[in-house]
Amino acid sequence: MTSIVVSSQKGGVGKTTVSINLAFAFARAGWNVLLVDTDPQGSVGLSLTRQSRKLLGFFDYLGDQKQTFDGLVVPTRMKTLSMIPAGQGEGYELGGGYSESVVERVKDFLGEAESRGYDICILDSAAGLFGITRDVLVAADAVLVPQQAEPLGIRSVPKMLKGLTELRAKNTKLSILGVLLTMVQRDVQESAEAADGLRELLPAQLVMKEEVPRDGLFLKASGKGVPVGVLQGSAKLLSAFDELRLEIESKLGLSL
């Protein structure tokens, strides 16, 4: 199983949108996918089901050694896509330091997912590289970094790169998939310049070729609790996430 964390320094850059739609893209292609919400705010669950606030989830597993993995999995209408929401646990102390015991529990969690036959585990995370996100990144195989294509958002990139470098020292197997430009508006000069500027400044291997455009359909999808790809008129967005999936498969050497 390959675990991919969707992580960013800043909030509101599209982590949850990317997590949901990337998981959907992998599942459509035939991979057995588990989408996990490791954000205490529970954004994935809130996006996909109104019931999520009542469900047990990831933080319950972390907080209770007796909590079983199977009791947390929420199936979806798609056979190859399952979900584990954030849950009802006490919540992880945000801002807390690196904790060996929680990392081991996260590794147990991923091990259980693998033993259940999941091929891909996509983990949505809280903004920042501290606390639970840090622990998840220490345990995971790869990280994808959504980055909003706007000048102010770009300012957080150096801090993110620095944080990831430090994390790799703790998890030498962590693959940095790259920065994924999100909310790109090619018809708005500042957004286009921010996107192209970052591509010029960073090495090509650190920026995903595919980018996610800003599109009202994402809001509609979130309102309906579905991935954007199931909505009418979403062919371009569906294709974008499919291309992203292929790019990730290539970078990680994955094949069905």
Binding site: P151, L152, I154, R155, V157, P158, K159, L161, K162, L164, T165, E166, R168, A169, T172, K173, L174, I176, E190, E193, A194, D196, G197, L198, E200, L201, L202, P203, Q205, L206
Partner: protein, 183 residues
């Protein structure tokens, strides 16, 4: 691309990207070196104290010079309140009382600032800040001590706030106090 260049230190970005793309083992070595750099203040403190203790024993002042480890205490405080990568304490004559900077150039800059008579408000600590990289500052903090005014240069990612300067000053006072002899 002019629109985002003003927001980014391009050299810093290139350096960070290069570090991230380096094989994880190379990063592990760098991490160890970085840890050593972060522990510079503590190790410098230990060496100063060990040297002082050794000298005291050799010179016949047998009662060991044991004082509260003021410099490690300052180091611990800085680690808790600022992401500090270096420290230098200089008097206004340019004498370096303590230096734990990752690069000699930062020490020289602090000495230069001290010898150009960075102004002090009587009885108050004040600070001057220079941005030296996208995530790093050189913060000069002038401190009044019993030994006279001192200038502390901090190479740091988190600037000390004015509200923290009083506590900081008392810790610097601790390291600048004459050695006490304890039985």
């Amino acid at each position: 691309m002019d629109s985002i260049n003003p927001w980014l230190d391009v050299d810093e970005l290139n350096r960070l990207a290069k570090a991230l793309m380096a094989p994880a083992d190379a990063q592990q070595t760098k991490k160890v070196e970085a840890s050593k750099s972060e522990g510079l203040i503590r190790s410098s403190a230990s060496k100063v104290l060990a040297k002082a203790s050794e000298m005291a024993k050799r010179t016949g002042v047998i009662t060991p010079v044991v004082r509260k480890a003021a410099l490690p205490e300052l180091g611990d405080w800085l680690n808790a309140h600022a992401r500090c990568q270096g420290l230098c304490v200089v008097n206004l004559d340019g004498d370096v009382l303590q230096a734990a900077m990752p690069n000699e150039e930062w020490t020289k800059l602090t000495v230069l600032a001290a010898t150009t008579r960075h102004r002090l408000e009587e009885g108050k600590s004040s600070s001057l800040r220079l941005k030296v990289a996208s995530e790093s500052f050189l913060q000069f903090i002038s401190v009044m001590t019993a030994r006279g005014p001192l200038l502390v240069g901090l190479l740091t990612q988190n600037l000390l706030k004015d509200s923290q300067l009083i506590e900081f000053s008392s810790l610097v006072e601790g390291i600048s106090a004459p050695d006490q002899v304890e039985k």
